[in-house]
Structures are given as structure tokens and as C-alpha cells.
Amino acid sequence: MSTNKLQEEIGSLFKDITFKVSKNNKIFIIAQKEQILDILSFIKDKGFDHLALISCVDWIKKNQFEIVYILTSYLLEDEKSRIHVILKTRISREKPEIMSALPVFENAEFYEREIHELFGVNFDGNNRLIPLFLEREYKIAPFRKDFDTREYVKNLYGSILPVEDKNK
């Protein structure tokens, strides 16, 4: 199936989405957070059945988190196997909440756990949002842009300054 046909079908089913195809067949879809589950299952039925990654980007200046789903295909057809679908949605930074992708993709659980721990995003429907990597509690989730690693180390381990600061 070509990217044009997918664009037509998605455009007729879902409103308020942006659809962009880059020149090497990478599809970018920007959608509202309420539509995400429907679009994910729609794209899965179209053959993009491999959830490669769920990622999160902190756009602090716009006060938003961007949740990114990257889907590829397990089909070995020549054309389709090279298409990546990159589905993005923005959620508010103050109250970061989104539906879990677990009903559609079983392997979403750990990606969501990681994003919950490192960015503080809540996933509705994922019952196992327990710590994954970290052992301490943090006031600000550590992968957010306003978490300063150098400041944190200074406060935690005392004032052993880095070499460049000593010379001042």
C-alpha cells in the first residue's frame, strides 16, 4: 500500500490530524491525544504491527510534552517494510496524562514505565507504573529539561567543584 492511500484513509477517518511524508517514505502524523489509541489500532491493522519505540520529548518553552510512537512493519514486502510511521501527540506539561497503548501493543508496558519514571507522565490503564531504573525519589523527574544534572550532583555530593570552576 502506498503512502498516499494511507493518507487518504486516515484523513477521511480522523479529523484534526496533520499528515506529512518525507522524501524517503517516513510518515509523520500529528494527532490529538484523545485519538491516539484509535489511530494506533488503525495503523496496526494496516500492517504496521511492530511498535519499535515510545519516546517523550520535553518542549519546555511551549510547556508541552510530546509523546512519540514509532511503528514499523513485520511484513517483508519490499516497499512497506521501509516505511516508518512516526505518530506524535502533545500533552500539557502541568497535568501530563495520556491513555496507555497497552490494549493495542503488549510491549508498550515497559516503554511507558520508563517515560513515567523519567518524565513523570501518567499512562491511564497501565497498572504497573512502578520504578524501573532509579533508586531515589526526585522532586523533578530527572529527564525533564528543568532538571539540572550539575546542580543535582552539587547538592547531593557537596561542593566538589568541577575543574573549570576552580580556576575562577
Partner: protein, 368 residues
């Protein structure tokens, strides 16, 4: 009648059957595992966050440390992502050298993985051979790059330097001496009935479940699917060389380890072909001054086939001289967390190490 009761058992990180900094909490009833909980995080260094503070070139020493056993595919995927973002081309010879280098590192990584598995089953002799043969490849790396484990050899625009004089012959000689020992490996390990009895039917997974759980690499290929990024979405010089993707049908530990063996042989053949076809020319296209190098606002997902499966990176630039967000999709992440927990349910305690190492999990790649 004695009441059956559940017992909680901590498996790792200090355990003989465990390779790497990783632990599993098991709930057992008798000898059977009722529930397994994977606990990563012993090696979480926060590299993805640290990379946001450093410029595009400075990140290479961090990137290679994410996967200790096979650092080169990490460098490759990051370099490819930067090239895609900035629109840099790689010269023909650079691509060939990258491919040869990646295949050498795949063999080294597989030998290390074979060591872990063979050693776990108690075949010490074959395990020591594998470690020795890996060392021969590390000698090649040392001559080419100056480093044995971490090479920082691949960079945006190509590779750091051309092959030194007489290096081709050295590669051929080393690979011949390793290849000459394959009959010995087969006799002592792969055709050994003890290996068959110990691994046959262990950690079995079928194609449907594997796909549903996001399996890649050997785990998926052992269920009969020819899924290899080198074939599907060729990068470097993989589209210019002919090679087979070894598969098996049964999806158990036995098939997975056989695929590792077959892939090593396939890589050796591929390197010989590539060395013959190698063109002349430059190995590196100049990139801008690293301190002033700003990449326009864009994001990209790039993937390669590492020795363990699909390795990808999601890289975001916001127009500055450093990345805005880096996120690695590593093959061990799904294998070591999702699939491991699933496969351990209902398994026997004595098979935990067998299942985990045959899934080819490597802990630093999960934690990052």
C-alpha cells in the same frame, strides 16, 4: 498433606548463572516459577540525558559505552542519525570500511555471546576458545583504531582513518584461523548431544507471540522469519553484497544459539566478498567545525541490525549545536524485559540462566 507455598527468590545481580548487571525476582512454587519480575537499573548511567549537554561530536565516547560488548553498531546508528539530520553523504570506500568493521564487530560480539552461553552450560573448553578468538579480532581493532573495546572509529561523514598498510591480509589471516576451528567447535559443542538435551525446547516462543511482544534479531529469526534490517532497509554497503539470513523453525534456545553460529560464518563470507570489491578513494567527507556545527530543527528515526537485533535511535534537533533529545531503541530492552518475564512464567528454576542468556540479553543496553 503439605500446603504448597510461594517462595520469593532473588536471582542476580551476584549469581553464577547471571551474565551482567541484571537481576530477576522469582516467585517459585517448588521448582516451578509462578512469576518473574525483571529488575534492570544496576547500570543506569543516564547517557541520554548527558548527551543533551554535549555537542554532536562529543557524544561519540558516550554512545559506544551504551553497549559494552558491541560498541560499533551504537556508533554507527548515532552517526547515521546525525548524517540524516544534517544531510551528509558518506564516500563509497567509507561505506565499505564501515560494513567490514561492523561485521568484524558482529563476529567479536557473537563470540562473546557464545562464550557466555557455552560457559553457562559448563563446556569450559569451547568457551575459552571463543574468548581467545574474540581477542584475535580485538587485536585487529587495536591496530586499526587504537582501542581494543571502545573504538570511536565511525564518525559522521565516514570513518576516522583508512586501513593501514597490509591490514587486508591481516583480516584474511585472522578470519582463516578462526574459521579453521569451526569443526572443533562443532565437535565439542554444537553437535554435542549434551547441548541438544540441555537446550532443546527451552524458552520456546512461537512466531505469533514473538511478533506480538516486539521480538527482533535471533529471537524472531529462530521462529522462522527472515527479519533482518540489513536486508529490509540496507545501510552502508549491505546492498552491494550478497548474503543469507540464517533462520530456524523451533524458536527455542537450541535454535537461537545455532543461528548465532551460522551468522558468524555468514559474516566471514561477507567480509571476504567486501574486501575483494572494495573501491579506492576517500574515507571521510569533511564535516563542519564541531563547536560551530548547528543542525536545523528536525527529528529522525534510524535503525540498524546490531548483533542482537534491531537497534534504533530517535534523534531530535532544535537547531542548536547539541541534540535536544536522544532515545535509543535497543534490542535487549524488549527481549530482556517483556519476553523474558513471559518465558520464565512456568519454567523450571534450573532453566533461568539458560533462557536469559539464550535470549542474548545484555544489561547495559537495557539501562543506558
Amino acid at each position: 498433606m503439605i500446603e504448597e507455598r510461594e517462595l520469593e527468590l532473588f536471582y542476580g545481580p551476584q549469581h553464577l548463572g547471571m551474565v551482567g548487571n541484571f537481576s530477576i525476582t522469582l516467585k517459585v512454587e517448588g521448582d516451578t516459577i509462578v512469576e518473574a519480575i525483571a529488575n534492570p537499573g544496576y547500570l543506569h548511567r543516564g547517557f541520554e540525558k548527558l548527551m543533551e549537554y554535549r555537542n554532536w561530536i562529543q557524544n561519540f565516547p558516550l554512545v559506544c559505552r551504551i553497549n559494552v560488548i558491541e560498541p560499533d553498531s551504537m556508533e554507527m546508528v548515532y552517526a547515521m542519525a546525525v548524517e540524516k539530520l544534517a544531510g551528509i553523504e558518506v564516500p563509497e570506500r567509507g561505506n565499505y570500511i564501515r560494513t567490514i568493521f561492523l561485521e568484524l564487530s558482529r563476529i567479536a560480539s557473537h563470540l562473546f555471546g557464545a562464550w557466555a552461553y557455552v560457559n553457562m552450560l559448563g563446556f569450559d573448553t569451547a568457551a575459552q576458545w571463543a574468548m581467545y578468538h574474540r581477542d584475535l579480532i580485538l587485536d585487529l581493532f587495536e591496530e586499526l583504531t587504537g582501542g581494543r573495546v571502545y573504538h570511536i572509529y565511525i564518525q559522521p561523514g565516514g570513518v576516522r582513518r583508512d586501513f593501514p598498510k597490509g591490514f587486508k591480509d591481516k583480516i584474511v589471516k585472522t578470519l582463516h584461523s578462526i574459521g579453521g576451528c569451526i569443526p572443533d567447535y562443532d565437535a565439542t559443542f554444537f553437535n554435542n548431544s549434551l547441548f541438544y538435551k540441555r537446550a532443546n525446547g527451552i524458552g520456546k516462543i512461537n512466531l505469533e507471540t514473538a511478533k506480538k511482544l516486539g521480538a527482533v534479531g535471533q529471537v524472531l529469526r529462530a521462529t522462522g522469519m527472515e527479519y533482518d534490517i540489513r536486508k529490509i532497509e540496507p545501510y552502508a554497503a549491505y546492498d552491494k553484497v550478497d548474503f543469507n539470513v540464517p533462520t530456524r523453525k523451533k524458536g527455542d534456545a537450541y535454535s537461537r544459539i545455532w543461528i548465532v553460529r551460522d551468522e558468524m560464518i555468514e559474516s566471514v563470507h561477507m567480509i571476504f566478498k567486501l574486501l575483494e570489491q572494495m573501491p579506492k578513494g576517500d574515507v571521510w567527507n569533511r564535516t563542519p567545525n564541531p563547536f560551530k556545527w548547528q543542525i536545523p530543527e528536525r527529528d529522525v528515526y534510524v535503525r540498524v541490525e546490531s548483533s542482537r537485533g534491531e537497534l534504533g535511535v530517535y534523534l531530535v534537533s532544535n537547531g542548536e549545536n547539541k541534540p535536544y533529545r536522544v532515545h535509543f531503541r535497543t534490542p535487549s530492552y524488549t527481549h530482556g524485559l517483556v519476553i523474558l518475564e513471559k518465558l520464565l512464567k512456568g519454567a523450571n528454576i534450573s532453566d533461568v540462566g539458560n533462557i536469559m542468556i539464550s535470549l542474548y540479553v545484555i544489561a547495559p543496553e537495557i539501562d543506558r
